[in-house]
């Protein structure tokens, strides 16, 4: 069977459009479901109160705060480490087998399942370093998990700065370090920030890495130090959905809604920063 060209065009367009729709629909449906069922639970009390009656009532404040602590800790650990690694790999490392192996390792870390990070964090931080199940252990585990995201995006951002900037800077008598600091990093910043915020979003949403390293089943108080256990939104959601009987659907979806909003907000910030800097890009 042969279609005349204009009709073939139309059919192809239609098929591609429908395929794209299939990609978007589930996302929209999930969001619709969560918003529809969860929005009713959102109240000032829900966001700022401790859980009550075995988590069947009250708020989710400790889980929100716990998630923020974990994410902040993960970034504090992973951003400097990842950025310095990216600078080394992009600006200093030469093409030797060792550096090729390092690059390969970084790509591979990104593909490791998150539950493996959880076990690794448990073995290293909780047991070996004896940090116990604590915010410290959880943050470090999440930090290691998001390292590849930060390194890869930072490297891409650094490599995208034109080589001519480096030559100009060096030719004006700047040292290599000054060149990186003043002629490269300022122009790589948006890309680095974008990667960082995507890392934040990922750290905020993962359950497996915090399962054995920090997450408390039920801890109706705010953590006092980095050696405390803490509740966290993703794990709290899991507990509410599978471990506690007779929880109001509203509370479950409300928790999911809060988590979703936090992650979406992070992504929105990333997109805003990127487009802001892109419009200012001058080369």
């Amino acid at each position: 069977m042969k279609f005349p060209p204009p009709l073939a065009q139309k059919i192809a367009f239609f098929v591609l459009f429908v395929m794209t729709l299939f990609v978007v629909l589930p996302v929209l449906f999930v969001m619709f479901l969560i918003v529809k069922n969860g929005i009713g639970a959102i109240s000032w009390e829900f966001l700022t109160a401790m859980p009550k009656q075995g988590m069947r009532a009250g708020g989710i404040l400790p889980a929100i705060v716990g998630t923020f602590y974990l994410v902040a800790g993960a970034i504090l650990f992973a951003l400097p480490l990842g950025l310095f690694a990216a600078i080394y790999l992009s600006e200093y490392s030469q093409d030797t087998w060792l550096n090729r192996a390092i690059r390969l390792a970084i790509i591979n870390i990104a593909g490791v399942p998150s539950v493996v990070f959880g076990l690794f964090g448990f073995a290293l931080f909780v047991s070996f370093f004896k940090f116990g199940a604590s915010i410290l252990s959880g943050s470090l585990t999440l930090g290691i998990m998001i390292l590849p995201v930060i390194i890869t995006s930072s490297r891409e951002a650094i490599d995208a700065v034109p080589g001519a900037f480096r030559e100009v800077s060096l030719s004006l008598g700047a040292t290599k370090l000054q060149t990186i600091r003043h002629a490269v990093l300022p122009h790589a910043l948006p890309g680095i920030l974008t990667g960082t915020i995507l890392g934040i979003g990922r750290a905020a949403g993962e359950t497996a890495p915090i399962l054995f390293t920090v997450a408390a089943f039920y801890l109706p108080r705010l953590p006092q130090s980095i050696f405390d256990q803490a509740m966290a939104l993703p794990y709290h959601l899991y507990v509410l959905s599978t471990q506690v009987p007779n929880v109001d659907v509203k509370i479950r979806y409300g928790t999911a809604f809060v988590l979703l909003v936090i992650v979406l907000l992070m992504n929105l910030i990333a997109i805003t920063i990127r487009s802001h800097f892109r419009s200012k890009k001058k080369w």
Binding site: A164, R166, E167, L170, S171, G173, H182
Partner: protein, 272 residues
């Protein structure tokens, strides 16, 4: 064809004395051979560059002109595959052994073929090198910036635009900004790598005017694809072919009575 500049005789004396006693020689290139990953770029070059002259370097593509220039302030060091033998002396000291490259590049500035302002304000571009040396006194920076911009024939055009982003300037202004940026460091030698290749005739004339003025204070090496430009501004001209220095001499003589037939062929447009 080319009228010799009035101070030609004066220069001749200087070269004569330079050859005898080494006096007045700013840069001495001795047996310089250079290559990139086994691909030869310069072949046993011997060349002296005299203080306060403009030395034009001409030659067809792949003749090694730019490699020579980038050797003089060690920008080739950035290329991993670069290898060289021989010596380059600045004021009698080996730039590859007795100079830190950072210090060397403050003394030997370079203007690239394409104007390459950094994406910051005009003012910050000018003082970029000074700030990296730790100079942060605003008054001092402003004074040096004004002097550098004046010497680069740009002050009148940008004195009210110092806080504007440098890439907003026109191409010719950007290139003069790059010259001013180099002048702000008060170098001894300025290397020009085809500085007018992307510019219109009026901008080119302004840059040539700046060069003629600058040679009283600086030693200038001008790599150019434009033989007419070499003839206009160069006190002496060196002709390169396939990495070899074929001939060097006073511009007027090289362009009117070259000793090598290949030089004659190139300047009369038979090849290259």
């Amino acid at each position: 064809m080319v009228t010799p500049s009035p101070d030609c005789n004066d220069l001749k004396d200087r070269f004569a004395s330079a050859n005898q006693s080494g006096d007045g020689v700013k840069i001495e290139i001795q047996n310089l051979t250079a290559s990139f990953s086994n691909h030869g770029a310069l072949d046993n070059v011997n060349l002296s560059i005299v203080s306060n002259e403009i030395l034009s370097v001409i030659g067809p593509a792949n003749s090694g002109k730019t490699t020579l220039l980038r050797t003089l302030n060690r920008l080739n060091d950035l290329t991993q595959s670069f290898q060289m033998t021989g010596r380059v002396l600045l004021d009698g000291r080996d730039i590859y052994k007795e100079y830190d490259p950072v210090i060397l590049r403050r003394k030997v500035g370079v203007i690239f073929a394409l104007p390459m302002p950094l994406p910051m304000t005009v003012f910050e571009n000018i003082v970029y090198g000074l700030r990296r040396q730790g100079v942060n006194d605003r008054k001092k920076l402003s004074r040096i910036a004004e002097k550098a911009l004046t010497d680069a024939y740009l002050w009148d055009e940008v004195k009210d635009r110092l806080e504007e982003e440098a890439p907003k300037l026109s191409g010719g202004q950007q290139q003069r900004l790059c010259i001013a940026r180099t002048l702000a460091l008060n170098p001894d030698v300025i290397l020009f790598d085809e500085p007018c290749s992307g510019l219109d005739p009026i901008s080119t004339a302004k840059i040539e005017e700046a060069m003629m003025k600058l040679k009283s204070q600086y030693t200038i090496v001008l790599v150019t694809n434009n033989t007419k430009q070499a003839a206009r501004v160069g006190d002496r001209t060196a002709f390169f072919l396939m990495g070899k220095l074929i001939e060097v001499g006073e511009t007027a003589k090289l362009f009117t009575a070259p000793t090598d037939s290949r030089t004659e062929g190139y300047i009369s447009g038979r090849f290259g």
